[in-house]
Symmetry: C2
Subunit: 204 residues, 2 copies
Amino acid sequence: MKKYIPEETVARLPVYHRYLLSLSKQGVKNISSKKLANILKINDSQVRKDLSYFGKLGKQGAGYEVNSLCTTIAKILKLDQAQAVCIVGMGSLGSALAAYKGFGQLGLKIAAVFDKSENKISHTIRGHLCHDIAKLAAVIKSEKIEIALLTVPAEAAQEIAENLVAAGIKAILNFTPVKLFVTDKVMVNNVDLAVELKTLSFFT
Amino acid sequence: MKKYIPEETVARLPVYHRYLLSLSKQGVKNISSKKLANILKINDSQVRKDLSYFGKLGKQGAGYEVNSLCTTIAKILKLDQAQAVCIVGMGSLGSALAAYKGFGQLGLKIAAVFDKSENKISHTIRGHLCHDIAKLAAVIKSEKIEIALLTVPAEAAQEIAENLVAAGIKAILNFTPVKLFVTDKVMVNNVDLAVELKTLSFFT
DNA sequence: CTATGTGAATGGATTCACAGCC
DNA sequence: GGCTGTGAATCCATTCACATAG
């Protein structure tokens, strides 16, 4: 078990988990790093090094036991814990996310959604009661929310991010095109469709 | 002008462009790599190195001229060209993307949308006539489409990606959780919400 | 003999540091 | 003085290669 784990490694864990789950359903008992790597089109020592950050999970000569590895990764990623998340900003993207069925499988639960608009507050959107964004801190604390999906307009992003941090949020998935400036104790991941699309068009 | 440009550099260009555009609107004439870097929370020599891949764009002692740099980046990213894109798979995500207003600003135009379902084909979805996915190749060729957004179910992803490549697509933005196996002449970028969310929950 | 776990080597992006120009 | 452009140095993830275990 190492102290420092590269973010790239953590980002591959969900991929390993997804494939191990399907192997498990197919009744496969064991798999080698080489086979796993071939399927995922990566290097086999990458698989071994990634997994070794979390202990000696395999058996020399035999490979990795599918079910137990799957469970171990699920624990590492806290897929067994039903973590509370909130969605801040109920525009078209926020609403679409609120309707996303996959949260449960990911060990996540939408515990609150927020907007500042009068005609959304206190209404139910995609099955979730919309709170006034002014009550962000109170709801985040009472619901013990640690992860926020930020889907507000760009102009509001930085200020609301600061409110989220002050309220005790530990991680933000930022869908706005703004580079958020927050303490590095808070993890920020960015999903920026415009960047993805523009980058692609360079390569055509 | 160098031969090889790191993908990371290309991914930062849209970010530079977005900020330069807002500076331009504010009437700012010049900016130094240091100021730009401070705003974007990156290193100033990173900014200079990135830009230097595309020529000597700045002036020593004076920095970069905002408007001309903005235009130069727009050209590099082909934002001035109205490239044709298609969306393959008109489920909830595909439909949400079809409704996205930002394509025009990005120099992109939705030239076609596809689905295989009888009750979508030949219907108009979010203002776009839905084509039969069986006619993928013909429409891609006639509309000169080079970029595809892939929003089909996971099971179908690899097969359809192969069809897209065969039809002459140059870049795929892959929203499915499947690692696509295609010739490396085709650029593939992945947007995987499940990976983003699971990665975040590790860090809480 | 098979396959893991890991130190060493590699490769590529980031950062430093400074020569050169305004 | 101020600031760019860039070779050199550094940092860090990936890959290699092998000692070790089953």
